[in-house]
């Protein structure tokens, strides 16, 4: 197996920059948190960081196409303003001045937000997603909006109406999806970190395919306000970064309260006007960076046998098992177990997600915003023409399926059945977490497929979500961490799933693994051995 060093972030803490000004290439090798430190210490300015990223974009964007919209001038101007605030001591957070890429299904006031769909080609929101607003308040500077599968329906970023994104490791391969643009941008150094959304693995799977870290928090941890909904009960916004530390710091920032409070009963506290997402839990335990300890001693890690069965690529299986072995060698108690109902997760997921999506996407009708087909004189004709021309084939497929499973006579047989199976899957996880701190497995059955290979067989493509989907159904936090590469040089990801609200456990395990692996790689480089 050939080991490929990812583009960036694989540096030890000892190499954190000093006071001297750094070369552009050097800036790009920093993680987000490292860059934030360098900016606060005055070694680099926010403007220099943005210039470095824009320089990299200049070099590689034409080939990779990570972004749908890049606003260079706006980014530089904003970086200048943030730099002044940092110097004035008004911004002191870990992400102040750090350039960020935002998935194009997160609304940004005054910036085009397309969801990679023709139906929103000219949509400019007047409001900003709460997660993005939190980042802006923390001083992160938006570079642009990243490419994705249309409305996040897909796992290859090939269904975008604005062209495909290529995998930075192997340009003939997809970056994964649906947050493929965000993952590829992080991997290619076209940003320091990015936001994605994860409905069935859309952050973790592209992170795995692109060799970066991606995380989906517990459902309700990050406000969904401003995230264009796909499957409302499954959607969560999550970070993509070069390191586990980056993801912890980003999550800490985006999970912050928008000022709202959680009601406790009809007589309980109710927030006046400020609360925008009823499903946002306003957690108090979001000090995720506190969990970054290199220690897995005594941690109980379960590996579901069904996650290593038929359909899993041999090289992927090997890399994931080696990762488990490394954790075991360092004190974790790793064992295999039977997680029930794995094979039912996909049909339950697609039923629920399609049903919710069919309703969520009804608002795209050519009346209030976005594309409207011309030449339709009658109302319903206008609806049909607009939607048939505005949505791509995959979106239409899922809307049709979702409308069908909710329709009269089928609701009980399909939708309610799926919600019952969801309850059973949640119970299976509850049982598993009674015995384990984390569940360990692969993120995806294979490494990134070649461009064009997946769309011909949608069902097969859906099967690729088998390891990630359950976390969404059960609302669980999960993280994808690079754990190697296959013989073609395509990255492989390790997934750690935690119980609800137990982000800190998976972050600690992921951080420990990342540090152990890095130490191993450095040792290999020093001694000239392959690992």
């Amino acid at each position: 197996m050939r080991e490929v060093l990812p583009f960036a972030g694989q540096r030890s803490a000892r190499q954190v920059p000093g006071k001297e000004k750094r070369q552009i290439m050097d800036i790009l090798s920093l993680s987000a948190v490292e860059l934030g430190t360098a900016i606060r210490e005055g070694a680099v300015t926010a403007v220099e960081a943005m210039e470095a990223v824009l320089g990299r974009i200049e070099e590689s964007e034409e080939k990779l196409h990570c972004y749908i919209t890049i606003e260079k001038e706006k980014a530089l101007e904003k970086a200048g303003q943030v730099q002044k605030k940092i110097e004035a001591g008004e911004l002191a957070g870990p992400l102040a001045g750090v350039p960020v890429a935002v998935k194009d299904n997160l609304c940004t006031a005054g910036r085009r937000t397309t969801c990679a769909s023709r139906i929103l080609e000219n949509f400019v929101p007047t409001y900003t997603a709460e997660a993005v607003r939190n980042l802006e308040q923390a001083g992160a500077v938006i570079i642009g909006k990243t490419n994705m599968d249309e409305f996040a329906f897909g796992s290859t970023t090939e269904t975008s109406a604005y062209g495909v994104t290529r995998n930075p490791h192997q340009p003939e391969h997809v970056p994964g999806g649906s947050s493929g643009g965000s993952a590829a941008a992080v991997a290619a150094g076209e940003c320091f970190f990015a936001l994605g959304s994860d409905t069935g693995g859309s952050v973790r799977q592209p992170a795995s395919h692109c060799g970066v870290v991606g995380m989906k928090p517990t459902y309700g941890t990050v406000s969904r306000y401003g995230l264009v909904a796909y499957g409302s009960s499954l959607d969560q916004i999550g970070p993509l970064g070069r390191t586990v530390e980056d993801c912890a710091a980003i999550l800490e920032t985006i999970a912050a309260s928008g000022g709202g409070a959680l009601g406790s009963g009809p007589d309980g506290e109710a927030a006046a006007g400020t609360r925008k997402d009823s499903t946002y839990l306003n957690r108090k335990d979001i000090d995720f960076t506190s969990s970054l300890k290199k220690d897995v001693k005594g941690m109980r890690i379960g590996m579901p046998r069904d996650y290593f069965g038929q359909g899993l690529d041999g090289e992927v299986a090997k890399a994931v098992r080696m990762a488990a072995k490394l954790l075991a060698e360092n004190g974790a108690v790793v064992e295999e177990f039977d997680l029930n109902l794995v094979e039912y997760a996909i049909p339950a997921y697609y039923t629920i997600a399609a049903a919710e999506a069919s309703s969520n996407l009804e608002r795209f009708d050519g009346i209030k915003y976005g594309y409207r087909a011309s030449g339709a004189e009658e109302l319903h004709q206008m609806y049909k023409k607009t939607r048939s021309e505005g949505f791509g084939p995959e979106v239409k497929r899922r809307i049709m399926l979702g409308s069908f499973v909710l329709s009269s006579g089928y609701y009980d047989a399909y939708y309610l059945k799926a919600l019952r199976v969801k309850a059973m899957i949640k119970k299976a996880f509850d049982q598993a977490f009674a015995g384990y701190d984390c569940i360990l497995g692969p993120v995806a059955p294979t490494t990134a497929p070649r461009l064009g290979e997946s769309l011909s067989d949608p069902l097969k493509m859906y099967l690729g979500d088998i390891y990630t989907i359950s976390a969404n159904l059960a609302g669980l936090p999960a993280i994808s961490v690079p754990c190697g590469a296959d013989s073609r040089g395509l990255p492989i990801g390790l997934q750690l799933i935690g119980d609800c609200f137990q982000e800190k456990k998976i972050l600690q395990a992921a951080y420990t693994y990342e540090q152990l692996r890095r130490a191993g790689q450095e040792k290999a480089v020093r001694t000239g051995e392959g690992r």
Binding site: Y225, P266, S359, Y411
Partner: protein, 488 residues
């Protein structure tokens, strides 16, 4: 030849039919803000000026429930003897129409907030219970305006997201009279609760009529139709009559009633089916994943219960005991919560109940009728009514002036004291000034004086009039009369 046969059979023995009616009543709740966002529910304003990304269905926006909506809905449920659902949810009702910006309406199907209640009505045949199947919370739609010039439809979302409750009755009504009694009962309960102003004309209370007919004594209900667009009690009564006859005619002709939604055209006095190929009526209801369930505990119920007001029946009994006013007055005054509030507040400020009642029963009703207004629209304050009554009582103004002032009060709630002051309308009680005026009138009208002295009583009236004119109306006519007699 079923048609022939039934027609022949009917010839000599006309069948008796029973009309079965159930109502779906939508009531706009009296909240400051919409059900799921912080936009104002105020009427008027330029189109779309009370909208935000949430109530216009912008991508990525989410609903958060207005607590007041729940409080109102539970209060109405308690007042209509419903069981309150302790764990209720919101569902999405999916259908495409431009007045509905998300193309789904957030409503309640599976677990509505209230169920199994009733209200008692009184109709010609005495007391009767009308069952309430359920009450659910939902959002209102926007307004569509037809633009003749461009032959297009314009959409204003100011009403989109205004909170509604829908009260679904059991099919317990048998006549238009019962329907109107039921609606009036609901209106009173809800107005007394302060949960809505319930104005049929303005659409804050709307009723859809579900109607079927069956042969008298039949065990099964007939096929029903749903009638929409009923904007007044009058329209409801006419529509019920029209639809009943339409269905009976169909049955008599051996045809079947089709289950459908019909729209009432009150100008033409007919209804027509709202049919469309694109209208599948398959709403694909499912629990809205953007909202969390509502769980109601005993404490909350008790709080709402403790806030329930004195309802009309209790109020009528109390008025009878406390105030010496006619039963008819009590009936009218308590027929509007707003009017009853004005009555009680004015009495509390010192107005004699009978006098207060007279103003309400006389001038107030006259002006309401003249201006085609609802008692809920009364704008004058109890303070001003009390002060007007005081002015009239002390004879500081005469009754003509008092009526003039009242009209101004009715229009724009003027302060009677100020009004009288500013226009110098106060009666002159100054004896010297009056004497002087009377003397001048006597001096200037020797002919009339002579006539009076000659026994022509009518001449005195002329002299009183002249004196009042000289006093610019600010004198008490009785006093003028007395003084004239003295001096003559």
């Amino acid at each position: 030849m079923a048609t022939m046969k039934s027609a022949q059979m009917n010839k000599g023995f006309p069948k008796e039919y029973e009309t079965v009616i159930g109502l779906e009543v939508h009531v706009e709740l009296a909240t400051n803000t919409k059900i799921f966002c912080g936009c104002s529910t105020a009427f008027g304003g330029k189109p779309n000026s009370h909208t935000c990304p949430v109530c216009t269905g912008m991508p990525g926006t989410l609903p958060v429930l207005n607590k007041k909506v729940l409080e109102h809905a539970v209060a109405v449920g308690l007042a209509t003897n419903c069981t309150i659902t302790r764990y209720c949810k919101f569902d999405r009702k999916n259908y495409f129409y431009p007045d509905n910006p998300q193309n789904y309406q957030i409503s309640q199907l599976y677990l509505p907030i209230c169920r199994d209640g009733y209200v008692e009505i009184e109709s010609g045949e005495g007391k009767k219970r009308i069952g309430i199947h359920e009450i659910h919370m939902e959002e209102d739609a926007g307004k569509l305006i037809h633009d003749e010039w461009e032959d297009c439809t314009l959409v204003d979302y100011n009403r989109s997201g205004v909170p509604l409750i829908e009260i679904v009755s059991e099919p317990d009504m048998r006549s238009a009279e019962e329907v109107i009694a039921y609606l009036d009962k609901l209106r009173l309960i809800i107005q007394y609760l302060g949960a809505s102003d319930c104005k049929l004309q303005e659409g804050s209370m709307r009723a859809d009529v579900n109607l079927s007919v069956r042969e008298a004594g039949a065990a099964q209900y007939g096929t029903r139709t749903e009638m929409k667009n009923l904007n007044s009690f009058h329209a409801i009564a006419r529509a019920i009559e029209g639809e009943k006859n339409r269905q009976i005619d169909l049955l008599e002709a051996g045809q079947a009633v089709v289950q459908e939604t019909r729209r009432w055209d009150d100008l033409k006095g007919t209804s027509y089916a709202m049919r469309s190929k694109e209208d599948a009526r398959d709403y694909r209801y499912f629990p809205d994943p953007d909202l969390v369930p509502v769980s109601i505990d005993d404490g909350f119920l008790e709080e709402i219960r403790s806030r329930q007001p004195e309802f009309r029946t209790e109020k009528m009994a109390r008025y009878k005991a406390e105030y010496d006013i006619p039963d008819y007055d009590i009936e009218i005054i308590t027929g509007s919560k707003h009017m009853a509030d004005i009555f009680e507040a004015t009495v509390a400020l010192g107005g004699q109940p009978k006098k207060v009642s007279n103003w309400l029963m006389g001038e107030t009703l006259r002006l309401l009728k003249e201006k085609e207004m609802d008692p809920e629209d009364i704008r004058f304050s109890p303070e001003h009514l009390a002060s007007l009554i005081a002015l009239a009582e002390s004879r500081a103004v005469n009754s003509t002036v008092a009526k003039e002032i009242f009209e101004r009060m009715f229009e724009e709630d003027v302060d009677p004291e100020k009004y009288v002051e500013e226009r110098g309308l106060k009666m002159v009680s100054d004896e010297d000034a009056l004497r002087k005026a009377v003397e001048e009138v006597i001096a200037a009208n020797p002919k009339s004086v002579q006539d009076y002295r000659g026994g022509k009583e009518r001449a005195l009236g002329f002299l009183v009039g002249q004196t009042m004119k000289a006093m610019k109306g600010k004198a008490d006519p009785a006093g003028v009369n007395r003084m004239l007699k003295d001096l003559l």
